[in-house]
């Protein structure tokens, strides 16, 4: 591990993982048996959060405090957060934690080149993750919601953490202080005559500051915020859509009857 990590929070996260082995160690627990192409079973994100303004505002707060250190959401400007029911003063004093101006895009201050050296890959911009992670297993929001709740201790990884939804991820468990620490229990199953390690369950080895239910709720808020970030116009789209389709239904009715009136002449 390169030693030039400047922020305290990252160091704390790494220490929060259990003892680190040298990088030469490889996964002791074996690979989780997942379907070909990496189709993992995803939990369902509670979509009611998407219309809950308090949840979205909480998600924005969580993002700025826990995520912006490494991940930008550069396709959104700070002033767009007004759509979450906040005014300029509230945004400036509570959500702008860098030297950015109110009209600036929400960028991380992490140097991406350094980050690529430290983590193996630069932390990606999360503006569209809730759309790009969609698959036949679930929506991108489902993916994010599951991902942030499926970290477990893994001494073979450089960060000390591994993730069921994104095996061998370079990102440590940023929210471990809230969730606590989990270990993953695997069981041996026969698959096509072979012995295969399959995930069984998580076992909590130390408590966090939030209960499981509260942590899930917190992650739901954060996920809702990221889903909003991926497509801020989603709600407007559906609202306008209802009126458009209503109009078109009436228009179709008139067009159909007008056509019938003309074609009565044709024998």
């Amino acid at each position: 591990m390169k030693s030039s990590m400047s922020t305290l929070s990252i160091g704390a996260i790494i220490r929060g993982g259990s003892r680190m082995l040298a990088a030469a160690g490889f996964a002791l627990l074996g690979s989780v048996a997942i379907a070909a192409g990496g189709a993992v079973k995803l939990d369902t994100f509670p979509t009611t959060k998407l219309t809950d303004q308090a949840a979205l505002q909480n998600g924005a707060k969580l993002f700025m405090n826990y995520c912006l250190g490494c991940h930008g959401i550069s396709q959104v400007r700070y002033n767009k957060l007004r759509e979450l029911g906040l005014n300029e003063e509230q945004i400036k004093s509570n959500l702008i934690l860098t030297s950015a101006k109110f009209g600036d895009p929400i960028m991380t201050t992490l140097n991406l080149k350094d980050a690529a050296e430290w983590f193996g890959k630069a932390p990606p911009d999360l503006s569209l993750t809730a759309r790009s992670r969609s698959s036949h297993s679930g929506t991108g929001a489902d993916w994010i919601y599951t991902y942030l709740r499926s970290y477990y201790l893994d001494p073979s990884r450089p960060t000390g953490w591994n993730n069921l939804t994104y095996p061998s991820v370079g990102m440590p468990h940023v929210l471990w202080e809230l969730q606590g620490q989990n270990e993953a229990v695997f069981k041996t199953v026969k698959d096509h005559g072979q012995d295969v390690q399959v995930f069984d369950k998580f076992v909590q080895t130390s408590k966090g500051s939030l209960s499981t239910a509260d942590y899930d709720n917190t992650i739901a808020d954060l996920t809702a915020f990221l889903a909003w970030v991926a497509e801020p116009s989603a709600m407007a789209r559906k609202q306008v859509g209802v009126w458009v389709l209503l109009f078109l239904a009436v228009f179709f009715l008139f067009a159909w009857r007008l056509n019938a009136a003309y074609w009565k002449d044709i024998k």
Binding site: G72, K80, R133, P232, K238, V240, G241, L245, F252
Partner: protein, 466 residues
């Protein structure tokens, strides 16, 4: 019949009409252009295709006001082209509507055009004297595929980039000139900024101009001979004392009003998608394309957009082993020429088929895959001359031929489905069978359309008054 311009229009209309054939154009193409009265549901798709073309052009104009074809990275490390699309989605007022209409329109264009072509296929609208309409149509289809391919690179997502990389690399399979050809197309050794800018020029200016010209030619050729109809009856054969076809009705107002119903129905479905499922389950806006293009990260599964997948299936089906199937087909064709033909065609045909059989093994299967994929589209140009049946329309064909058309449709869907999926051993075999059926359907048409008992073509169209 003698047309005398006895009554001149007055006012502004008269002023224009004395300088521009406005009234005669109106009469010739609308109010006195006679179309068969028995058009059915399949006859909506021509006007819908024109509607979608206009829609794509208008939404395209608004998109180009804000889109930037620049592959370099901005301050946040996102490619400028990708970021400009997100700018349209988020910061241009109602930019998201324009974007979704354009992306849904691209898929809608192919749905409409496939149905339009299918109508031509089943009713024999490509038969004499309408061969040229059909040829213009095939050229339009080719241009449409090129337009979609060039347009898909522009958002500069992962699928855009890697799809273009794969398809342009196919041209490198051309013998001798391949690699240089691929560099010439790309403007660089890999897909990059040079490629993005030239694809932008093709997508926005070159191909739309060609498309507009071809569509005009397509309609002019149609109006010269008049439309076919589901019964395959030539309505101009029976005219009344005024020279008006007995089964014909003026296009305006009967079909202009009729087509408005088609447009309303289409709009209901189209805007339901635009407003409620613009991603189309990942088929209209592919999930992977929400990740900016990264030349260093190859997606685990690169597939073309759904409307190219039947042809992509045929490309993937052309493996080294499959070239033996092609050799066998060429050998059988050589045998046919030698036994069934006389003189020059006997010798020339047999020799040509044997040369082809050898070529199938000399050149790489990769090259023949490209040829098969392109051939699947090119073969449609020859349809007017492959179909030797005594009737135009499927309505008079023997029952087993109707089943054959049904199998053709199912086969096309199966090929499409397999093209979406990653390749598997079973899937490859099915695609190979499907490819053989597809080409057999067309190439053997001169044989199977001469078989069977056909019903007589009716004198008048079948029409229920309503």
């Amino acid at each position: 019949m003698a047309a005398e311009k006895v009554v001149q229009a007055s006012g502004l209309l008269g002023w224009v009409d004395r300088r521009f054939p406005l009234i005669s154009l109106y009469k010739g193409h609308l109010s006195e252009y006679y179309a068969p009265k028995n058009f059915n549901f399949f006859y909506f798709f021509g006007s819908l295709a024109m509607l979608v073309l206009v829609l794509q052009i208008v939404t395209g104009i608004f998109l180009v006001m804000h889109y930037k074809p620049d592959a370099s990275l901005n301050a946040a490390g996102i490619p400028v082209a990708f970021a400009s699309v997100e700018y349209i989605m988020r910061e241009v007022p109602f930019g998201w509507v324009i974007r979704y209409m354009h992306s849904t329109g691209a898929s809608a264009f192919f749905v409409v055009v496939f149905l339009h072509m299918f109508r031509g296929l089943i009713y024999g609208s490509y038969r004499e004297p309408r061969e040229l309409i059909w040829i213009f149509g095939c050229l339009i289809f080719l241009c449409l595929m090129a337009e979609a391919f060039f347009g898909y690179l522009l958002p500069w997502g992962q699928m855009s980039f890697w799809g273009a990389q794969v398809i342009v690399n196919l041209f490198a399979a051309v013998p001798l000139i391949g690699p240089d050809l691929a560099v010439w197309i790309r403007g660089d050794f890999v897909v990059g900024d040079a490629t993005l800018n030239r694809f932008f020029a093709f997508h926005v200016i070159a191909i739309p101009l060609v498309l507009l010209g071809l569509v005009a030619a397509h309609i002019i050729a149609l109006h010269e001979v008049g439309s076919n109809n589901p019964d395959g009856v030539e309505i101009k054969a029976k005219k009344d004392n005024n020279g008006i076809p007995l089964d014909g009705i003026p296009f305006h107002p009967y079909y202009t009003v009729h087509d408005v119903v088609g447009i309303a129905g289409f709009a209901l479905i189209f805007f339901a998608v635009v407003f409620f499922m613009p991603e189309g389950g990942g088929y209209f806006l592919e999930f992977n394309n929400f990740i900016p293009a990264d030349p260093l990260v190859t997606p685990s599964h690169i597939a073309p957009v759904w409307y190219f997948t039947p042809y992509y299936s045929m490309l993937r089906a052309t493996t080294d082993i499959f070239t033996w199937v092609m050799v066998a087909s060429a050998a059988i064709a050589a045998g046919y020429f030698w036994v069934k033909q006389q003189g020059l065609l006997k010798v020339g045909g047999a020799v040509a088929m044997i040369v082809l059989a050898v070529a199938f093994r000399v050149f790489d299967a990769k090259f023949w895959g490209v040829v098969v994929m392109g051939g699947a589209v090119i073969i449609m140009f020859f349809l007017p001359w492959l179909d030797k049946s005594p009737v135009k329309s499927i309505r008079q064909r023997p029952g087993w031929q109707k089943w054959l058309y049904g199998v053709f449709v199912v086969n096309f869907f199966v090929l499409g489905y397999l093209g979406v999926m990653p390749p598997t051993t079973a899937g490859t075999i099915v695609s190979q069978v499907g490819t053989v059926f597809y080409f057999g359907f067309f190439l053997l048409m001169p044989v199977w359309t001469r078989m069977g008992d056909y019903k007589p073509v009716p004198e008048r169209v079948s029409f229920q008054a309503h």
